[in-house]
């Protein structure tokens, strides 16, 4: 491990060691980003197919029959294939996008630089964790091409549907087993990654970089790695047991006397609720694994563009800690109606409502900090503002779902779908967009095209609201989620709303091409970036070059003299003072 590091600080020469099996955290970060990009595009296309199928259930969708002959005969998506697409969409997005992009990708690239380290603590583990993730990705995607196609039990894979095997439907054979293996492997990768993040943050901070002087996003990545260390350590054995139930005939999750489409199951005594408990014990923290890094990134970028520090750096960090801590006491609110003891519903409901307190504090601090700022409007800061708006919209709907009594009506409706897409999906993705526009100059040495960036923001912002706000109306009407067609009498009048959503989704997805074009174009043709284009104080902007050299600081050790956010102060270089600058600052924050 550490010996790897001994040799790691000599830059590799061969292409393979440089770009493929690289030990350099920057390369690995970019690899994670690329993987997330592939996953997000795939997941988006899947959601397109689902949306189109939902509003025109019996009309062929050109090209889909090419994806699967059985799943979509003549391009008409069958009910089971709709569910397969939905499962893959959820799994790809949650695991390979929302966990990888804000946490693994940006964290890998910038955490070591922001604390003044040369590399991660265990570069070899770092490389392993990426390539293990890649293997997990391949296993998951291979489910498209084997047997009856991908599993149809959703990303939550509730047992016994996910455990009894092919009897419970097409895709529940090989596909579901591959799903279990993929997630198992993914857990190993995430554990290696988190281990690395924690050790790096604790041990590799440079001179003067006390914990209190770490930027908020570093804090966010650190807290997130602590969460994911424990969360994935629970999901891993859960997946092991699930796969054993499927392939080895054990009965951890499968009770006695199940008759699944005329096949009496040879299992007995298992507990379906056990899977739900294990899964959600991971599943709820996973939500914060997705959103905390985005919060950190947004805070960081917002501060830079406001030219003033947040009202309180510490409070925000404490709030993130509180959220991380509480996230382990609330998993049961996903199971209010799962037949738990009804008293436990309240036990879980209370901390859930309590989580709104730190979340509100953070929101108020973001808003309060905007007051009296010199807010610079650019693609990055716009996405930060968009994040705040989305976070609020998705957050308040959590208020409903946190209450078991209201959950009786809204559980498993589109209200829930709207809630988590806004607060976990879109908000986190906005954080990633902001980070991309902000750090692109550091990662490539070129600026991203501002005009395209703003265009991308306006369309995405309006588009996502058009998609996900109506979900809440549908939920209030009792529109059940995970339906591949709306055959119920009370759902038919809602189809116009679904049509509107589908159009919005197609539009919003299409405008993401602007972003991808911008990425590629700016990478090669973008304007050359100055050393510190945003006038940001943190260490990543003290590196000798963009992108930084192999060991980040050109064989030197930065020394940190200040808190991360010295803005709005008289400094030698305008209204800010670099963390590495030894000059004295009149009033410290």
């Amino acid at each position: 491990m550490s010996e790897a590091a001994v040799h790691a600080h000599q830059a590799p020469t061969s292409f393979i060691r440089k770009h493929v099996f690289s030990l350099d955290h920057k390369v690995i970060g970019i690899q994670y980003y690329g993987l997330a990009l592939v996953a997000v595009v795939t997941g988006m296309v899947l959601s397109w197919i689902m949306r189109i199928h939902l509003v025109w259930p019996n009309s062929p969708i050109p090209g889909v029959q090419w994806l699967s002959k059985i799943g979509a005969p003549g391009g008409v998506v069958t009910p089971e294939y709709y569910l397969s697409l939905m499962t893959m969409h959820g799994t790809l997005m949650v695991f390979f996008v929302l966990t990888n992009a804000p946490f693994a990708a940006f964290g890998n690239y910038f955490l070591p630089i922001q604390i003044g380290a040369e590399d991660m603590a265990f570069p070899r583990f770092n490389m392993m964790s990426f390539w293990t993730t890649f293997v997990a990705f391949c296993i998951l995607v291979s489910a498209f091409f084997v047997g009856d196609g991908p599993p149809l039990s959703g990303w939550t894979a509730y047992a016994p549907l996910s455990a009894v095997g092919a009897d419970s439907g097409p895709g529940e054979g090989v596909g579901q087993t591959l799903w279990g293996l993929s997630i198992f492997v993914f857990c190993i990768a995430s554990l290696l990654g988190s281990l690395n993040f924690i050790a790096t943050t604790l041990d590799l901070r440079t001179k003067g970089m006390t914990l209190a002087r770490m930027p908020i996003c570093t804090w966010a990545w650190f807290i997130t790695s602590c969460i994911s260390l424990l969360a994935f350590a629970v999901l891993m054995p859960a997946c092991l047991l699930l796969v054993l139930d499927r392939v080895a005939g054990t009965s951890f999750f499968i009770p006695s006397g199940l008759n699944v489409s005329d096949h009496l199951q040879p299992h007995q005594g298992g507990s379906p609720l056990l899977w739900q408990h294990l899964f959600w014990f991971f599943g709820h923290p996973e939500v914060y694994i997705a959103i905390l890094p985005a919060m950190g990134i947004v805070s960081h970028i917002l501060i830079v563009n406001m030219r003033k520090p947040l009202l309180s750096h510490k409070v925000v960090v404490y709030c993130m800690m509180a959220i991380g801590f509480l996230s382990y006491m609330v998993w049961g609110h996903h199971m209010f109606l799962s037949g738990m003891n009804p008293f436990s519903a309240m036990v879980f409901s209370f901390p859930t409502l309590m989580i709104t307190i730190p979340a509100t504090i953070m929101t108020l601090i973001w808003l309060g900090s905007l007051y009296g700022s010199k807010l610079r409007i650019n693609a990055a800061s716009l996405f930060c503002l968009g994040f705040i708006s989305m976070f609020v919209s998705g957050g308040v709907s959590g208020f409903f779902l946190a209450q078991p009594s209201i959950d009786i009506y809204l559980h498993a409706t589109y209200f829930v779908v709207g809630h988590f897409h806004m607060v976990m999906g879109v908000a986190a993705i906005f954080g990633v967009f902001a980070g991309t526009y902000f750090w692109f100059p550091k990662m490539t040495g070129r600026m991203m095209n501002e005009t395209l960036g703003r265009l991308h923001f306006w369309f995405t912002f309006i588009g996502t609201y058009c998609i996900f706000m109506p979900f809440h109306y549908l939920g209030l009407a009792g529109n059940v989620r995970r339906y591949s067609a709306f055959t119920d009498d009370f759902l038919v009048p809602l189809v116009p709303v679904h049509k509107f959503i589908t159009y919005a989704a197609l539009f919003t997805g299409a405008v993401q091409m602007i972003f991808i074009f911008n990425l590629i174009y700016s990478r090669f043709k973008g304007a050359k970036a100055e050393a510190n284009p945003w006038e940001c104080t943190s260490l990543e902007w003290s590196t000798p070059s963009s992108p930084p050299p192999f060991d980040n600081f050109g064989g030197q050790h930065p020394v940190v003299y200040h808190d991360p956010y010295q803005y709005g102060v008289k400094g030698s270089k305008g209204d800010y003072v670099m963390q590495t600058s030894p000059e004295k600052v009149a009033q410290a924050t």
């Binding site: 001994v6 050790a199 629970v234 030894p582």
Partner: protein, 228 residues
């Protein structure tokens, strides 16, 4: 030695250079032995391996906590909870694992003595390392024999929840023990190599992991004896 990137501006009042800052500076320098003499090797402050091992152990602990709670929930739901007779060889395996931990402690003492120069020959330390490795191997083989014993009684993985949990818990533990053995082999290799010096932290981390495996096994044995 580390230097600042911005040369201090003379016209400005300067902060005093921080002496605190618990970081190693993220540096991995000064670790290569001079002329291959291991005694020159010293860890920097805040050696990541020390932290890393505790983080890793906490994750492993969490995994087994999850499995334990699964065991309890499953038993609560069970109508088919048949107790099984634990193979006696487990007790022998346990003693082997404990012995290996003791041997490893002795080895660590010798190794550190050797590295601090108090002791001149490697052989004693190497001997104890070999003993540890051997006893660890004995444990793994013993576990395998325990599985064969259960199979001979017709208790397979799917037979009943107790046998399922027995195989799962011992199996996952055995995998970790194998990992520990790998770590030990790595330590011995480094102990004898001059290109890759053995560092205190590596030695310590490996032994913490190994002792943790012992403690974990005690815990598992208790659970198995209590529940299965």
């Amino acid at each position: 030695m580390a230097t600042t990137l911005q040369p201090p501006q003379t016209d400005l009042e300067q902060e005093s250079r921080p002496h605190d800052g618990n970081g190693s500076g993220g540096g991995f320098r000064g670790l290569l032995p001079s002329r291959g003499d291991l005694r020159a090797v010293a860890d920097p402050r805040g050696e990541p391996t020390r932290t890393g091992i505790w983080v890793a152990l906490s994750a492993i602990a969490m995994t087994f906590a999850a499995l334990t709670s699964a065991l309890y929930v499953r038993e609560g739901a069970a109508t088919d909870w048949h107790h099984i007779q634990l193979p006696n060889i487990l007790w022998f395996n346990t003693s082997a694992l404990i012995a290996s931990s003791i041997a490893l402690e002795l080895a660590r003492h010798r190794v550190s003595g050797y590295m601090r120069g108090l002791e001149l020959s490697r052989s004693k330390a190497a001997l104890w390392l070999n003993a540890t490795l051997l006893l660890g191997g004995v444990f793994v083989v013993g576990q395998y024999l325990a599985w064969l014993k259960l199979r001979s009684q017709g208790l397979y993985l799917p037979t009943n929840p107790n046998s399922s949990f027995f195989y799962v818990l011992t199996g996952v533990h055995a995998v970790h023990v194998l990992g520990g053995l790998g770590g030990l082999i790595r330590v011995m290799f480094k102990f004898h190599s001059t290109r890759h010096p053995l560092r205190r932290s590596t030695m310590d981390a490996t032994s913490y992991f190994w002792h943790f495996m012992g403690a974990l096994w005690m815990y598992l044995l208790f659970i198995l004896w209590l529940k299965l």
